[in-house]
């Protein structure tokens, strides 16, 4: 515990000493003037003061006076402590909660199962978010923003869970992918990633930006930008790309080059690359990405002063209440 205004008790000491001295002087002067004007002079007070009951009452009276003094002291001490503003000092490393995450999902047919898993995982994660913003971009031949970066978590959760359900029933209704087939070809990964990078607003602000890119990097068509170019664009904008590639498995060795390219791009942006076969591994991967980011994103140690006024306030209240009660007892 520390005092914000260490000099306050000294000030109080001076004031209290001054008041006491003044009271002393005034009392002395009043006593010297002897008979107070309003007082009734009486003789032979021993008629009263010699009574045993009077002695007992006097003891009680003195006890009440002593208690009153104690109450005043407690209240005053509480006031002194409060006015000096006691604070608890603690050092802590803030976990930055100013992340922007864009989920960048390839919605070509082979990817839908993985997308659904990613969407579901984030739908669960949203509960823990505080200060983070999350956006969702779906792309195939063109990129469509499902929802922009937002911290309206209720909305996000609703969108994500609806989208998850639709994706699982993609055979019946593929409408969630509307607007993603306007390009020249399909699975234009470079264009998709570039579009996702462009979803970040507030570029000037000090925020951490990351993209979770889920794709098999199997391009079929003419891209405007290639994946490495999009990766450079991301790096220029301080965007970290985490790659999830369900296609990078031994059974599909024909796309080995594509997977290598993907991994390299991701690594260049400072992100991590995950190759997997099983959609069930997605939650673990997302958790891994989260914790990896958390490690990067603790801020500088900060000194935090927290007011701790509870005990002085309680003591002050008790003292004041006690004083009022005793005053009432004495005057009643």
């Amino acid at each position: 515990m520390e005092l914000s205004f260490w000099w306050m008790p000294l000030l109080w000491a001076f004031v209290i000493a001054g008041v006491l001295a003044l009271a002393f002087v005034l009392t002395r002067r009043r006593m010297r003037r002897r008979p107070a004007r309003a007082a009734v002079p009486v003789a032979h007070t021993e008629r009263l003061t010699a009574l045993p009951a009077y002695r007992r009452a006097l003891t009680r009276y003195r006890a009440l006076l002593a208690l009153s003094v104690a109450a005043v002291v407690v209240a005053l001490a509480a006031a002194v402590v409060l006015s000096a503003r006691p604070v608890a000092v603690s050092a802590y490393q803030p976990e930055l909660r100013n992340r922007d995450i864009v989920l960048c999902l390839d919605v070509s047919g082979s990817m839908v199962d993985y997308d659904a898993e990613i969407v579901d995982t984030f739908s669960d994660l949203v509960d823990e978010f505080d200060g983070e913003r999350i956006g969702l971009v779906l792309f195939n031949a063109s990129a469509a923003t499902a929802f922009p970066l937002t911290s309206d978590y209720a909305f996000v959760e609703k969108q994500l869970s609806e989208l998850g359900d639709k994706m699982r029933n993609a055979d019946e209704d593929y409408s969630f992918a509307n607007g993603t087939l306007l390009g020249n070809g399909s699975s234009l990964i470079g264009d998709g990633l570039g579009s996702c990078v462009m979803r970040f607003d507030d570029i000037g602000q000090e925020r951490s930006r990351s993209i979770i890119l889920a794709t098999d990097n199997f391009v079929a068509g003419e891209q405007i930008v290639t994946l490495p170019e999009a990766g450079e664009f991301a790096t220029e904008n301080d965007v970290t790309v985490y790659g999830i590639n369900p296609g990078d498995v031994a059974s599909k060795s024909y796309i080995k080059d594509l997977a290598d390219e993907f991994e390299k791009v991701v690594a260049d942006t400072g992100g991590a690359y995950y190759a997997l076969d099983d959609p069930g591994a997605i939650p673990a991967i997302v958790g891994q990405i989260q914790s990896e980011q958390a490690a990067d994103m603790t801020g500088a140690t900060q000194i935090v002063k927290t007011d701790i006024p509870v005990w002085p306030i309680v003591a002050g209240l008790v003292g004041t209440a006690g004083l009022m009660f005793l005053g009432w007892r004495l005057k009643r």
Binding site: T27, M31, R34, P35, A36, A38, A39, V40, P41, V42, A43, H44, T45, E46, R47, L48, T49, A50, L51, P52, A53, Y54, R55, R56, A57, L58, Y61, R62, L64, L330, K331
Partner: protein, 325 residues
């Protein structure tokens, strides 16, 4: 300073109409024993005259009681003894200053004495000493005497010393006199109320610095001194009732002990237990004082207000005269 004697006369004439005044005169005359036996004349009997002074033969002839009057061989002396310390400046049971009641009582008795051609003196004083106003017979003398009591009894004066005044009388006078002792509600038997009794009041209000011996409150037994005085003089005793210490004061004013100037905190005065004990003690004290004086043979009365003065003094004289002697 307005004259005090006219007020006494007014009190007498208002409170005591003619008949009572006659009685008062009769009772007063009978106070003195050892009259001369030089017969002067006869006059109609008034209640209070001594039965043995009735001239039965003349009464039989005349048809109504006649008493014999004697030529006073010498003037009688009435000595008023009053402590004029701060105790007298205190407030009485009626709220009037005790001083005023004392002056009324002294004035009435002094005026009666004056009308009978007797001489009145005064012994008064406080802890700083006693003063004697010698015997004198004029109204002016009586007025001066009352003025002295009035002037001396103030809160700025010295503390009281009642015993000191009685001591002074005992040491000073050889001649037999009528001692009119004006006292108050102090304990005569010295039942331990005197010493340090006021300490509680003074320390409770933080006036410890003023704690001093209390010469006004007799710590010792007064009875031997009273017996001695009674043997030498005629004595009548007038107690001025002291203020009720547990009664509510106007506007809740504090009570101030005149000896120590310590306050009696209201908190203590309103305590029910204290009030009960005080009431018991006050009653006991009244009876005790009266019993002590009765046993010695001194007639006493307790005056609570100005209206009390004449009737109570009348009854006091009556009691004095009819006391077994």
């Amino acid at each position: 300073m307005p004259a005090l004697l006219p007020r006494v006369k007014t009190t007498l004439s208002i409170v005591a109409h003619r008949r009572v005044r006659g009685w008062l005169d009769g009772e007063y005359r009978s106070v003195f024993h050892g009259k001369s036996h030089d017969f002067d004349d006869l006059r109609p009997y008034v209640p209070g005259d001594e039965i043995r002074d009735i001239d039965w033969k003349a009464t039989a002839r005349h048809g109504s009681p006649l008493t014999k009057r004697y030529i006073a061989s010498r003037k009688q002396a009435v000595m008023i003894v009053v402590d004029s310390g701060r105790d007298l400046a205190a407030v009485s049971a009626s709220g009037e200053p005790k001083r005023d009641l004392a002056i009324q009582a002294a004035g009435v008795l002094g005026y009666l004495a004056h009308r009978h051609g007797d001489q009145v003196g005064l012994v008064t004083g406080d802890a700083s000493g006693s003063a004697l106003v010698p015997l004198g017979g004029t109204e002016g003398h009586l007025e001066r005497l009352l003025q002295i009591i009035h002037a001396r009894a103030s809160l700025e004066g010295s503390p009281s010393d009642f015993v000191g005044q009685l001591d002074y009388v005992a040491r000073r006078f050889r001649r037999r006199m009528l001692l009119v002792v004006i006292s108050d509600d102090q304990a005569l038997a010295g039942t331990g109320h005197g010493t340090g009794g006021t300490g509680g009041a003074s320390s409770a209000s933080g006036a410890n610095a003023r704690t001093q011996s209390t010469p006004g409150a007799p710590a010792s037994d007064l009875r031997p001194l009273l017996r001695r005085l009674h043997a030498q003089h005629e004595m009548i005793w007038v107690s001025i009732a002291d203020a009720d210490l547990v009664a509510a004061t106007p506007r809740g004013a504090e009570l101030l002990d005149v000896q120590t100037f310590g306050e009696l905190p209201e908190f203590l005065r309103r305590d029910p237990q204290v009030r009960r004990e005080y009431a018991e003690r006050a009653t006991a004290q009244k009876t005790e004082t009266r019993d002590i004086l009765d046993r010695i043979g001194i007639a006493s009365t307790r005056i609570e207000s100005t209206r009390d003065v004449v009737p109570k003094l009348f009854r006091l004289l009556e009691r004095h005269n009819h006391a077994g002697r």
